[in-house]
């Protein structure tokens, strides 16, 4: 992770705060007693979550610009150098013009194109097929979510009567891919000599307890915070969460980027409702596919962090340590 600029770490930290506090903890207020101290606490958490959301959005835009710059400089995944800036421009336009019709179609198609470009990179180098498959599953999940969102926009733009077919099937397939993404990553890189499974059970057990105690509230919070509907049997989600936690722990131990990428993908959510969340998912996917394990034969062609984008001063190898 030291190979990337420090704002990647800032992004992961703020994205987690936005996700866990802004979209999860504050949403649990519906089940809390409404005493004045509780109300005051939740009001404070809401403001904090809103601040984290804005900060995450700013950092996401910054990271997207940096990724586009890197892609241009290294001539690797050059399409990103065009797709990401256009996405940022469309995001800004959408703040003042309703994002519907061709604007929405263009946005979603660009998101899908960027996901395909990033996901396709892993197949270019030499490497184990299981790692290529594992790295492709999150990209396919992003593509499925994008397709689910672009179809209705297409119908509106073309003024077709609709409704578009197979949307529910598409959404469910994408959710299945989301659930299996951590499984694939664990299979490829998550197995470690030092077992991470003990600590990884904590989030999984928390989910199981919440689901068994109050499945309705758990489902509400899940769909609000991640976009998942929990339509699959709940043990699958528990298993996925367990293995995702294991991958995060293992990659943190090794100093690799897979865990950070997984956290960004989780914070971005599935079939995200906000434009910056879609960019967050792309940033997570890019980070995942820029990890050394994703290109075992080709090695990384990233610029080292000692040569960040020109707007920052010439930072030496000290930047790699911060």
């Amino acid at each position: 992770m030291n190979r990337f600029p420090i704002f990647f770490r800032w992004l992961v930290a703020t994205a987690l705060v936005d996700w866990l506090i802004g979209r999860m903890v504050t949403r649990s207020a519906i089940a809390m007693p409404k005493s004045p101290p509780v109300i005051a606490v939740y009001q404070a958490l809401t403001v904090f979550g809103q601040l984290a959301f804005t900060f995450t959005g700013l950092l996401t835009l910054l990271v997207a610009i940096w990724i586009a710059w890197q892609s241009w400089q290294t001539r690797r995944a050059t399409g990103l150098a065009f797709a990401l800036p256009i996405l940022i421009v469309l995001n800004t336009i959408s703040l003042f013009v309703a994002s519907a019709g061709w604007l929405a179609v263009g946005y979603q198609l660009l998101v899908m194109a960027a996901a395909a470009i990033v996901g396709g990179q892993v197949w270019r180098g030499d490497g184990e097929i299981k790692k290529k498959i594992a790295w492709s599953i999150p990209a396919l999940a992003l593509l499925a979510g994008g397709l689910y969102q672009v179809l209705p926009a297409f119908y509106v733009a073309l003024r077709w009567s609709g409704p578009p077919p197979f949307t529910e099937l598409l959404f469910n397939v994408g959710e299945l891919l989301v659930v299996f993404s951590p499984v694939g990553l664990w299979w490829a890189v998550g197995q470690d000599a030092v077992s991470p499974y003990k600590w990884a059970t904590i989030p999984a057990l928390a989910f199981v307890a919440a689901y068994l105690l109050n499945p309705a509230l758990t489902a509400i919070i899940a769909i609000w915070s991640t976009g998942l509907t929990l339509y699959l049997p709940w043990p699958l989600y528990a298993l996925s969460l367990w293995l995702a936690s294991a991958v995060v722990i293992v990659s943190l131990r090794r100093g690799d980027a897979e865990g950070w990428a997984l956290l960004l993908l989780a914070a971005g959510g599935y079939a995200p409702q906000l434009s910056t969340q879609a960019l967050l998912g792309l940033a997570g996917l890019w980070l995942l596919n820029s990890a050394p394990d994703s290109q075992p034969g080709a090695g990384t062609s990233l610029q080292p962090a000692s040569q960040p984008i020109p707007v920052l001063s010439q930072t030496t190898a000290k930047a790699g340590k911060s």
Binding site: F55, Q149, Y155, R159, A219, S313
Partner: protein
């Protein structure tokens, strides 16, 4: 972390605080959007099978059982609704369709429950809690009821269900089985006399209500009931049309302007499954885009009013843009200056 990164982080945090404080958005919604297509002429307010509906793109909205507050029924039957919307600059119509094998339009017996559907609009800025709004976040709900629809055709009462029932006498009424209008003294039909919507002859199958959280549902006054509706059931499917003027003078009515985006949510009840009150299927908020350019319906009478309105438009339109540009330029400039600082 060296000074440069610390300053950059501080500037970003300051920018985030400023954007949050001034409520400047940096992300746009990419969720489901229902577009109310613009057309000219009369809208199909009573014909759900009209070809005019094909001008609007249908959106399938998933529903799930209301499971936030009691009473809760987890196994509700309506899993999704399909909706379209049209407007002609003065009125808006919304068509909602859903599958329902049974037609439940009688509420005569206490154990009978009606089929129903509702659309909900926020009255305040933003999206209040999707389930009936919240304190400080009222919602305007248009609630179509199947039994009200049936009552418009023929008023239903005990005699509808028990045609052979016998009554001795209805005092102060004309006729053996009087309707409310047959009573000579309104004091003997107190619900009707007090303006209770449930006792009155229904002019519309839609009840126009507002809510600000669970248990706060309040019907608008009788003279404020301005939403029309039409519902038809055939071959296991309900088709319901809501129609109303785009704008309304009432404070508690949602108002629509062509060219703008709003939020809308849906709820449905299957009477056969004993669904009523909070035991229903609900959707999350989705976007409603009213197609077309905003029209100036009331041109200013004087030059000063015109210049004032132009200033307001400039401030509203360009204020956020100017703020973002200034803050961004400021950030870039400061970062540039910082880059010139020695390590």
């Amino acid at each position: 972390m060296n000074k440069r990164y610390l300053l950059s982080l501080s500037l970003l945090v300051a920018l985030a605080i400023a954007l949050t404080f001034f409520k400047v958005p940096i992300a746009s919604s990419q969720g489901l959007t229902l577009v109310a297509a613009q057309m000219s002429g009369d809208l199909p307010a009573t014909d759900p099978n009209s070809d005019l509906w094909q001008k609007a793109t249908a959106v399938q909205v998933p529903l799930s059982a209301q499971n936030v507050t009691r009473p809760i029924l987890l196994d509700t039957r309506v899993k999704s609704v399909t909706t379209r919307a049209l407007h002609n600059g003065s009125q808006i119509v919304i068509l909602v369709e859903w599958a329902d094998e049974t037609r439940n339009e009688q509420m005569v017996r206490v154990q009978d429950f009606r089929d129903a559907v509702a659309v909900q609009f926020p009255l305040a800025e933003g999206q209040p809690f999707f389930c009936m709004g919240q304190l400080g976040g009222n919602v305007n709900i248009w609630h179509w009821k199947a039994d009200w629809q049936a009552d418009i055709a023929a008023l239903q009462d005990m005699e509808t269900l028990y045609p052979n029932m016998y009554t001795d006498q209805y005092p102060f009424a004309v006729g053996a089985l009087p309707a409310p209008a047959d009573y000579t003294d309104a004091n003997y039909v107190p619900a009707l006399a007090s303006g209770n919507l449930f006792a009155a002859v229904h002019a519309s199958p839609v009840e126009d209500v507002i809510a600000g959280g669970f248990g706060s549902l309040t019907a608008q006054p009788a003279d404020g009931q301005n939403v029309q509706g039409f519902g038809a059931w055939a071959a296991g499917k309900w088709q319901v049309i809501f129609s109303r003027d785009l704008t309304s003078k009432e404070q508690d009515d949602a108002a629509f302007t062509p060219g703008k985006m709003y939020s809308i949510a849906f709820a449905a009840w299957d009477g056969e499954n004993n669904e009523r009150n909070g035991q229903k299927s609900t959707s999350q908020w989705i976007s409603l885009q009213v197609e077309g350019a905003a029209k100036v319906t009331n041109p200013p009478a004087s030059g000063s009013a015109n210049s004032q309105m132009n200033l307001q438009v400039i401030l509203v339109l360009f204020g956020p843009i100017a703020l973002i540009v200034l803050l961004t330029l400021g950030l870039v400039g400061i970062v540039f200056l910082i880059s010139k600082l020695p390590d």
